[in-house]
């Protein structure tokens, strides 16, 4: 249960409110393997950035009287989303721009000596800096462990599949 709740903490607060309880029930019904854990980490990243998922989490199901969920078991990992200020957005944009330039420069510099690294760095030139910028805006106010897990996990997976 604790492991499942920790995984749940990777998701945005609205997602946890809307799907958290039934998601935990679903996970508890089956056995959670390594593959499922990776699947959940991917889904958590997706939940932060997908417009579709955001739309679903503001549907009435999470707030209607008949369908209101008990979120008592989620309180341990519940965090209010912090407001993203224009300054946060600018810092996030700056990290993305600087990161893209850095990745591209490193890719260019390594083209003769390390062609394999060039390939990975080129592939990561957008998604890498985007992931690194997430703590400044998309994940602002979230527990640092959740931020570290999402950023580190996503970068590791992107590097492995790159």
């Amino acid at each position: 249960m604790r492991c499942d709740a920790n995984l749940l903490a990777l998701f945005p607060p609205r997602w946890r409110e809307r799907y958290g309880e039934e998601f935990l029930a679903t996970v508890e019904d089956g056995r959670l393997g390594v593959r499922d854990t990776i699947d959940i980490m991917f889904a958590a990243s997706d939940a932060w950035i997908s417009a579709d998922v955001r739309r679903a989490t503001i549907s009435p199901a999470g707030t209607d009287a008949g369908g209101r969920m008990s979120i008592n078991s989620l309180l341990a990992c519940r965090r209010e989303a912090a407001a993203v200020t224009p300054r946060d957005a600018l810092i996030g944009a700056g990290v993305m721009l600087a990161g893209s330039l850095l990745f591209k420069t490193l890719a260019y510099a390594s083209r003769d000596t390390l062609p394999a690294a060039t390939h990975v760095l080129t592939d990561l030139a957008f998604l890498g800096p985007f992931t690194l910028s997430m703590p400044f805006w998309l994940m602002k106010g979230q527990p640092w462990k959740a931020q570290a897990a999402i950023v580190g996990g996503t970068l590791a997976i992107l590097t492995l599949i790159g």
Partner: protein
């Protein structure tokens, strides 16, 4: 081959296949998350991870192809909407036509 513009499920990207399985699973009545994964595993031999399952459910719900029902003992069942029925029927007809062509070509070869 160009993607058919009337294949609305394809707009779900990598979630289009899991979404199709979920629509098929709900075609015979409402089910909650775990029941959906069990049914898909039995019918299609595919095991959906919990993250993929809820990624697809959120997308289907956002498009109003499925709708949530009141929670029953921590589990929320979902059911197909009329639009979901239409999308599923259309997709199955497309697959049927594709299978027909494939079988015919196999027979020719």
């Amino acid at each position: 081959m160009a993607r058919r513009t009337d294949d609305v499920l394809a707009t779900l990207g990598r979630f289009s296949e899991p979404a199709l399985y979920i629509l098929i699973s709900l075609a015979d009545g409402p089910k909650h998350g775990y029941a959906i994964t069990q049914d898909i595993e039995a019918v299609a031999g595919q095991k959906l991870g919990p993250g993929t399952l809820y990624g697809a459910i959120a997308r289907l719900e956002a498009r109003k192809w499925i709708e949530p029902l009141p929670v029953e003992e921590r589990r929320r069942p979902y059911r197909l909407t009329t639009a979901g029925h239409r999308v599923l029927r259309h997709r199955l007809q497309s697959l049927q036509a594709l299978a027909r062509v494939g079988r015919a070509r196999l027979a020719e070869g």
